[in-house]
Structure formats: C-alpha cells, structure tokens
Symmetry: D2
Subunit: 270 residues, 4 copies
C-alpha cells in the first residue's frame, strides 16, 4: 500500500513529445494500427490521422504476441515504414520496444518509446529506456497493481529519464464481455497522487468497438491526459486485433462525440 509518508516516484506533471505536451490542459490522442502491415496501410492511416488532427501515430513493428504462431510484426522494416509515413504527414510516432539491444535503432527513429503490458516488469528494458533521453509510454501490466505500475515507472525515473507517461489498459478479471476490465480508478488515483501523466488505451482494455464512445467519455471525465485508440483502414482484414480497431469513419465519429471533452480540463474539487 502506498502510504502518505512513503517516498513517491514524483516526476514532472507534463511530458513533452516533440511539440506535444502530455499532462497539460489539452488531451492527447495517439492512434494507429495495432501492427504495421504494409506501406500502403501506414500511408493511408497517417494521411487520415493528419487530416483529423491526431498528433501522435502508434503502430507495432515488434509485436509481443502470446503465440509464436501469430503474426510477429515486420520488425525493423516495419518501424521504418511507420516512421516514414508519419513524417510525410507531420506526425510524431510511438512504438513498442521489446529488446534492450534495439534501443539505438528505436531512438534514432521514434519520438516515444512504448513499454508494453507484458514487459512492465522487464527491469533490463526499464533501465535501458531510463538511460535514453526519449519519452517513455509505460503500460500497466494486465496483472499489475497501481502501486506496481508506479514502482515500475520509478525504475525508469531513477536512471535519469523523467519523461514518463503511464497508460491504463485494463486488468485481467473473470469478466468475459470485455478483453480486460478497464480500471478507471487507476486514472483517478494517479491524478490524485499527481506523479506522472496517464492516458487510457481503450482498444486493448475493451477489445470491442461498440462501447468505445461512452468509455472514451468516461476516461476523459475522470481526468486522464489522453487516449490511445487503434484504427485500421480495414479492420476486418487486420493481421492482429481487428476486432478492437476502429475504421476511419468510426474514429471520425468518435472524435466528433468526444470533441467537447478534449478542449479543457474540468476542475475537480479537492
């Protein structure tokens, strides 16, 4: 239990990724495909994201798949495709790093390093990204407590890197109607303790798109600093996680619905 007297991993309240401030009055959106699949896919996606004003493009090149028989991502080639497409359209990039030996390759290319849920307690990786100068997006493990998430972040902070954004993405429970159970109390607790900005990954927590609008509103209402949402030119044909990815039209609709909540921060009384 985190108790009042205990030293907390206090980092800065605002993290800068390029020109974007995460943790300030403006909510930050990160969108893109689960996995980079082709030049055509990322080009179309980057063009669309740019058009609707999403500043940061996500896309997995190295995929942490449960099964070795599943699509493992395009690797370094995939990362190059993602970054080229994003740059053509003036977007920043975030992508998951899985191996500490890939740090140099990633640092030269992406704007933000993502630590995936399965690697939240991969201490070698945490320390390595802590020694880089890159902003880090640290996802909560689906079996990890809020305190464990904060302690994992502290592994990064202790190496000298203060640019850490947390990400709530659902925890594993017995409820089967959603892929994981989105724990918005995690967001409220983190915002109350104020150590670091926190965003919500709607796609991985829900695993379905039909309740994404109300859950996006809930996430924003409880104070998160941004949203991560998977989008794909053709979700039905996606090589991974198509079921939880929005189409371009779906994302446009969602943006329209949540637009009033992106512009300002509502004050919560103390």
């Amino acid at each position: 239990m985190i108790s009042p007297g205990q030293e907390l991993p206090i980092g800065p309240q605002v993290v800068h990724v390029g020109h974007v401030c995460i943790g300030g009055p403006q909510k930050t959106l990160m969108c893109g495909p689960c996995a980079v699949e082709s030049e055509d896919q990322v080009e179309k996606t980057a063009a669309f994201l740019s058009q609707v004003g999403i500043p940061i493009m996500r896309g997995g090149a190295f995929k942490s798949r449960t099964s070795p028989r599943a699509f493992q991502g395009l690797g370094r080639e995939g990362l190059e495709l993602l970054v080229k497409a994003a740059r053509r359209h003036g977007l920043l990039t975030v992508s998951e790093i899985m191996d500490p030996r890939d740090l140099g390759f990633f640092s030269d290319r992406v704007d933000m390093l993502q630590i995936g849920a399965r690697n939240m307690q991969n201490l070698a990786l945490l320390r390595e990204v802590g020694r880089s100068g890159k902003p880090v997006l640290l996802k909560r493990g689906f079996m990890s407590t809020v305190e464990e998430l904060l302690l994992a972040a502290e592994y990064v902070l202790r190496e000298g890197n203060q640019e850490v954004v947390l990400c709530e993405r659902g925890i594993r429970t017995f409820e089967p109607l959603t892929r994981n159970t989105l724990d918005l109390a995690c967001v409220a607790l983190v915002k109350r303790m104020k150590p670091l900005p926190i965003i919500v990954d709607l796609s991985h927590s829900l695993g379905r798109t039909d309740i994404m609008v109300p859950m996006a509103k809930a996430a924003l209402a409880c104070g998160c600093d941004g949203l991560m949402i998977e989008v794909h030119p053709n979700p039905v044909k996606a090589l991974s996680d198509g079921k939880q990815s929005l189409s371009f039209q779906g994302l446009a609709n969602l943006l329209n619905d949540i637009e009033p909540m992106l512009r300002h921060v509502e004050g919560n009384s103390p």
Copy 2:
C-alpha cells in the same frame, strides 16, 4: 456470451419509484447511511438530503455483514426509523431485504427493495421480490459477470415484476487500492443492450472518498442512470463503512461538481 440471437431479459427502459423516473433524461441519486444507527442519525440525514434535492434515501436495517461479530443492523426497528425520517422530509426509500419472509414487512414500508451483492444469486429471494409489485434495485455480485447479472434480473422479471434497476458496484480483483474494481464497461454494455436502467454505487466500489468526484463524473459520462452514494452525519463514527461515506459537506461539494452532468443525457452516436 450473450449473442444477438439470444432472448434477452428486456424490461421497460424506465422504472418508476414513486414520482421518480429511473432511466429517463434525469439522473437519479440515492444517498444515505450504510446502516441505520439511530433516530437522530436518519433524521439529520433525511433533512440534509431533502435540502440538497436528493429524492431517494438509502439505509440498511438488515445488514449482510461478512462477520457475525460485526454490527448486524437494527432490523425491523431500523427500517421503521428510516422510513419515518424519510417521510417527514418527503423522501422515497430503498433498503436491502435479505430474507424472503420479510417481504410483507418491507412492502408495507419502503418504496424500493434492494437485493445486495451477496444475494444476487439467492433465487428464493429473487423470485419473492419478483412476485411483489415493488420496484427492485438489483446489485451485481462482486464476482459475477454482466451476463450473470442480467440472468439474475430475469429471475425477477419472469415472476411478473418488470420494475428492476441494475446496480454496478465493483468486482473483486487483485487491486488493493480500491475496495473493488468499478467496471464501467458493465454500464456501457447494459446501456447498449438496453434491457434495464443501471446505476452505479460509488461508495462500495471505491471504498474511499478521495476519488469520488472524478469517478462520479466517469460513471455519468458513460451513461449510467443514477448514482448511489453513502453519506453520514459523522463518517468517522459510523458503525459500518465510515471510510467510504461522505460527510454532508463532502456530498454538497460533489453535487456541485457533477451538477452539469445531472441535467441532460448526452447522445452517444451509434
């Protein structure tokens, strides 16, 4: 899994408790102490609730406590105290019934029968309240799936009672910082399937008051039809659950913060 072709427990979308419509454009608040403790306590609480415009007063007379050594409630005398105080101030009442043999006593007094989380699958009780003409507030068991909650509601509906309101109150997980993990996707799913109104019990799900404002906003933002919140004239001295009860001032502050969200229903695009 609930599949499209399957028969769903479709009840009315609006449930009437006295003059209050649950499930309509106005959000419904139910507040009061965890347990009825004394005439003074319920009188002060009823007076305050009336003053701030809360229409339904809650209060436990028969308490479903984990330990037989804990305060078990004042029983029938407690229910009388609750109802008298509420009536003096023009409030409606909801209180938990635990024994099917108490139905007559409850029906003559309260306006809404509550089935607690531990009794969500107490079929004898579900059938008994299903045969009464009283509105029912059915709480989700803390280790029950959304589908199981809907099937429990169906036990009530099948006996002829269509006046059922569901209540999400958190599920049991490994996360210790909150008493339970509030599963707002349950609310979004129920509202999408539209069988019955659903409210959120913030006090039991969170077990703490310091994040109640942002979580109330999140619950309302994702479309719930109302909130249940515990309030006590002196939470520190409460005989049960004081830690999760707001003071009168705390409730007034919360109402002030969420007021803009109580007035209208925001449309979620399909």
Copy 3:
C-alpha cells in the same frame, strides 16, 4: 486477515452424519448426480454407490442455476425420489437447501443440509440451518476468501449447531481450462487451524473428468477429510453438469486408484 490472537470459529473436529464420522481417520466420500432427474436415475445410482461402498449420496432437487431458462430441478418431488432411493440401499443423503422456508421439509428427509456456493453469505439461510439439529455442508463461495468461509460457518455455529463441514470447491480466476481454480491451500489452512472438517468437491472445481484422479490424490494428500464427486448413469445425457460427472465405470476406476489413500491419515509434521 486471521491473526493468532483473534477468536476463531472453533467447532468440533469430527462431525457425525448418521453412522459416518467426517473428520476422523477415515476419508468420507459423497457421490451422486448433480441433479435428481428421475426415479430410474437415482435408483441406479444408489444401487451402484451402495455396491462400491460410498456411504453418502448427493443429489440436487432445488438447483441454483445461473439462468432461469436452465433446468431448475424437480423440487420437493425430486428430494423424495432421492431419499427413497438412498434408503432402499442403506445410504445417507445430502442435498442443497436454498430457501429458509424449506427447512422443515428438508429436516424430515435428508441427513445433511448443503449450503451451496452462491448462498454462502445468505445469512437468513445460514441462521436457519444453524437453528436446526442437522449436520450442514457449507460450500465456499467461488468469490469468497478462506476467512469469509470461516466467518460464514460461524453464523451457523452461533445459532447452536456445531455440526458443520466445510467444502472447498474452487474459486473464480482468469484460468479457463478448469471451471474454477481448486485452492488446496484452503484445505491445508483449515486443517492447520483445525476449526472444522473440510472436504473437496472435485466436480465443480474442475468442471472436467480427465484430471480427476490426480486431483483427488492431491486433495487427499494435503489432508482433506473427504471428497464430493458427481456421478451419473449416463453423463452425456445429464440435464446439468454432465461434462464434469463420472460414469459408474469412471468412479470405479477412480476409487481403485485412490483406495490406498482412503484408509489412513498420514501425519504431517508440525
């Protein structure tokens, strides 16, 4: 947490059901169908159980089913069928009671009252069986901690009934290959604290029969006082839980495999 200084619900270490001692050197087996379906079914089962030396026959007449559309049991008629068949073959009976108003009917017929997992915290029912003179088999709720199980037992003990046997039957987790996760540490903890005898329900915890032999051995090895196993003349045609029920031949094989472990209690060093 149960701490050393705390008052524990200490009951007798041996519970008598007819001529059978539960909690003594001999392990006790309780077998029979999930649900009583017909006179033929219980007659065949009773004859077989008698032949292989099982002393207590189980069978559900009132079924606590998740869905109101599922088979709900034959009710009072089912209980009569169970008891008649058992008596014809010299067997004792245990069956689940769900409604406190049925106590008289059950007490006149069965030898042991079962409280099902979904009713472990149905306090009206616990108190009612606590006022009867009948031995009680109290199943652990699939969402309940070991401490909550002991406190539920204490509700029975406090009414004056010391004849309580606990039953571990698996808890709800994220693991899908078994119906529930059998928590044998519960058995070891209960035996260490020594308040009450405890048996293991293999059928409901596993939900499958192919690993029943090794799990029966594990349960006996860690010190449980008996086993509950579902058996059906024709599991494929069972109206409920056929997938987890053994055939007569399957039970005979299992008994053969575990026979050496039923005869004596191995001492565990302190």
Copy 4:
C-alpha cells in the same frame, strides 16, 4: 482453448540437467536461498543441501524486485558466489536471467537458466535462451493461463532448445492468506498433455511455510516432476522473502515427511 486437433508444443518428456533427469521416475528437488547474499550464506546452504541429497541449488543473483528501492541482488558477483559454493559441494545450479545480454555470462556458469514469472512473456529473453544449449526452467506468470505458459515455452522450443522444464508457482487471485493461489490443476493438465516436465515452486506460491508439508504432498500426489523450495540459514534475517523460506531444520523435516513420495511414480489410470 487448447483443442485436441491443435498443434501442441511437444518437447521431450525428460530434460537432463547435468546428471539429473527431470521428468523421469525420480522427483527432482531444487533448493536454496531466494537471493544470494554472501559467501558465507551460500557456502553454508550448499553444504547442507549436499548433506541431505538435494541435487540442484537455486539462488537469485539478479533479482526481479517490484520496487527499485528493494535489494536488487549481488549481480554477477552473486552468480559467481553461488556457482563456486555449489561446485565445492558437487551441486548443480539454476539462477534467473533477466537480460538477454547476460546470456554468455550465465551460460559459462550455471547449469540451468531460469525465466522468472515476470518475464514469462519477455519474448526477447525467451528467444535468446532458446538459442542457447542450456536447459531452461520457465516459470508461469502469476496472471498467465496454462495455455499462455505452453505458448511461452514454444517460443523457446522453436529456437531449437528442447530442454524446457515448466514451473507452476501460483496465480494472482483475491485470496490473501497465501501469496498466490497454487493451481495444481495446471500440473495435472500439463502431465495429461505430456508436452514437458513440470515442477512446483512451493515458496512463491504459498508465501508461508506452515502449510508447506501438506502442499508438497499434494503437488507430488498430482504428478509434478519436482519441487522448488527456498531455504535460508537464517530466514528471519533474509534480505528477501524470508517469510516463505524454510530453515535447514525445516527443510530436513519436510524431506523426512515427503520421502516416501519421492521414490516412485504412482500410475494414474487413463
């Protein structure tokens, strides 16, 4: 779900670590401290283990601690101390590797590479140990399903390393009396599917020593191929996990109690 028709990661049924066969008729014990703390500590432990016939010594040099403020292990120096002490007494060694860049250092020293629960889905590490010729002990993540464990093992097998032993060490649930919930059905399922040997880590699953004897018996009875047990010369002063470590006398008592179960494999009927 693993279905009959699906390709399973079938490895050898026996894994050789030095002269020790894991998965054969003899059960294999691996004991030692949670963390290597000093030369004196590992020397005393190795001497004792050799005396009581334990063939494999465990000891953490690189510790995967939740908090960066906790003792992180002695690192490379610690591994050297462990290996020297073990060799002096003719013992084999197993120790956790956390960083793929440490593979060469580990391979030159230890006899078996351990992948810890937090790294079960660290794919870079799984692939790296898969490319080594060393036997691997793969621990189940505390919130991973049995199928996910088998798929993680498949990442190692696919790189050409068939020498993989699985380890059940408890899963995270809501039950607080044990550190994790030991899921012995995992052992029975793995033994039934027969892909790989599996042992049980009693210390991490239970987090307490008072029920270790009955749980060791249960683990052996359901067919596991060995046990991992933490032992420390002075558990009260251990720098990590002292609460779950046996003293030398405690281990000697346990060995005495389980001795009859280590000698032969009991046949389970099909």
